[in-house]
């Protein structure tokens, strides 16, 4: 995260490859399921033997004996509807919920977050010298309407996408944050409104962040969790 601050996001998880290295983010949407960006994974249906989801710690490289860290192998992946750029990952065993690990709320289907709603992104990705690369960083950003956002992105923003971010300062998601959450505070709860996807550049001025709009795919997510 460029321009963020160290913080707590108990639903943000770190995806680890077979060498144990963080490569993308994700969000805990139930005790057994994570949502992330499809761009982080090589294919939809192959087994992800050796890949793990780490949670319960704010450190990028926690000590091996960190009592709060939960490292749970990923058992299965299911790709989202075509052009959704989403992937759901099923954990081999349910995560234990506590003050450091929590499930985020999902929005109602087709829900459009009001402009100006307070949101945040979280991740262990690059800070480009703006912060501490070793801990989870969080950046506050308000929702921007697609109409306004399209003005900055030359009409490229789709209805299945959501924009957020301040335009006056260089801040936003960066490498290895992809797949992580855009969480918005609604009705006293944090709700997953967006998923961070790879874009060109990190936190550029006059370029609000574009995220996958989760409410467009929440029916699919619920179906995947119910069916499996």
């Amino acid at each position: 995260i460029v321009g963020g601050l160290p913080g707590n996001s108990p639903w943000t998880i770190s995806l680890r490859n077979r060498a144990g290295k963080h490569f993308c983010g994700g969000t805990l949407v139930s005790t057994s399921w994570i949502i992330s960006s499809k761009q982080c994974f090589s294919s939809c249906y192959v087994e992800r033997r050796g890949y793990e989801a780490w949670m319960g710690t704010i450190f990028k490289d926690p000590r091996p004996n960190d009592p709060n860290k939960q490292a749970i192998p990923i058992q299965r992946a299911v790709c989202g509807p075509s052009s959704s750029n989403l992937i759901m990952l099923q954990l081999e065993r349910p995560a234990s919920l506590n003050e450091r690990v929590a499930v985020i709320c999902l929005p109602p289907p087709q829900y459009i977050v009001p402009e100006g709603t307070g949101c945040e992104i979280a991740g262990w990705g690059e800070t480009q010298g703006t912060g501490d690369d070793e801990v989870l960083n969080i950046l506050q950003m308000p929702v921007m309407s697609n109409r306004q956002c399209n003005g900055y992105h030359r009409g490229l923003v789709q209805p299945t996408e959501i924009c957020a971010g301040a335009i006056s300062r260089a801040a936003g998601a960066c490498e290895k944050d992809y797949g992580g959450p855009l969480a918005c505070f609604t009705n006293e709860c944090w709700v997953l409104e967006g998923v961070i996807i790879p874009g060109r550049g990190c936190g550029r001025r006059n370029r609000p962040g574009i995220f996958i709009r989760v409410s467009m795919y929440v029916d699919w997510m619920n179906k995947v969790m119910k069916m499996n």
Binding site: P6, N17, R49, A102, V103, Q128, T186, Y217
Partner: protein, 460 residues
Amino acid sequence: QRSPLNDYHRSRGVQLQTLHRSPEGHVSGAEECAIRCTDDLRCRAFNYNLQAKDCQILSSTSQMEGTERHKHIHIDLYEKKAYVRECIVNNGATYRGTVSVTQSGKTCQEWISNVPHEHRYLPIKFPEKGLDMNYCRNPDNDVNGPWCYTTDWTTRIEACGIKRCENDICVLCNGEDYNGFVDRTESGRECQRWDLNSPHRHNYQPDKYRDMNLDDNYCRNPDGSPQPWCFTTDPNVEREFCNIQRCEGKHKLKEVQTTTECFKRHGIGYRGTVNKTTSGTPCQPWNSQVPHQHQLTPENYPCKGLEENYCRNPDGSEAPWCFTSDPDVRHAFCLQIDRCEDDIEPEDCYYGNGEMYRGSVKKTRKGIHCQKWNSNTPHITQVNHKSHPKANLVGNLCRNPDGDSHGPWCYTMHPKVQWDYCAINTCKGAHEPPIVDPEEVVFDSCGKRDDRMFRNNMLR
């Protein structure tokens, strides 16, 4: 610190059944079973039951007639490597393979016979030399390797010309596909088995890396090193490269499709010209060591397309990447390159959400055949004729019985893919779904966090 299992080739989940069954005995582990087999001259293999810890000594290997390999989830078959290898180690004195023709094509004489050539190497006199049938052997440690008496009256003895393991299968590129039988490093140290964590603990468990052929203790290259390597049985030397002959001619990646506009799977075949990381940092040229020093040079990796400063994936990472020109960021992915679309061509279209679709498509978007709605194989259906009697769930046709907003779907015949959307697109003119009033939002046991806990921790 070598394991007695180092002399054995392991086949997971396989039981060898032979005509003559020996009794099973309880052991403390596979290593004890290996010691028993090694001590017994007649033993050539053993079945090891991981669950019951039972050891069954066998006088046959799966290459011999009268044996059958059966799948068994609790049993691993271990066979003496000498009987499995098709190449020789050193002078081939331990070779127990089945080649029975000399290098000029003459058939070997049976060791038990004295016709046409009388000789002293009778199996009964030298039971430890493995003088079976008319197979090439090296009972006298001849420097030219295994040999035999020939059935040609005019040629008494001829070498069989069996290749040494390091020359048998050559290394293409940096040897990530190497699956030969070399199990010693370039300094002569014996390799540690990949399925053991002693003397060196490591991450490369064969179960985790099923696509890497991490068999026994053979040299392999699971991490994109410049050449095959292994952990050694020497506690003081963690890992070393193996000295295996490189293939002659042009080195080309096996079974990798090259792409330029997008990347497939991990992007190992990506040969496009994107040369910036996702965040827009220019890449460092692969043939440069500034600002980052590395071994991934075009010379070390002749078939990885390491041209200019283009994003590539020479080491099996998750996606194409590069060393960056920023001294503070060693490497970064180029995830702004799209993944190639792997959906098959849509075969029909639907209106609305496709609830009324009554067409005949019966394949998913990835081309997997649909399962019949009235079948429970391979997946037990929750949505079927009984639950949705009016949804026209005919045969294995794509339908949308539950009003899925993303269109018709079906259960699939792939055991690991329970269901998926079908190879059908929306027809032109389909309407957008309505939006929901924000007032309707209600949440209960989710999305709560205690920010005081984090603040207190940070203050402390």
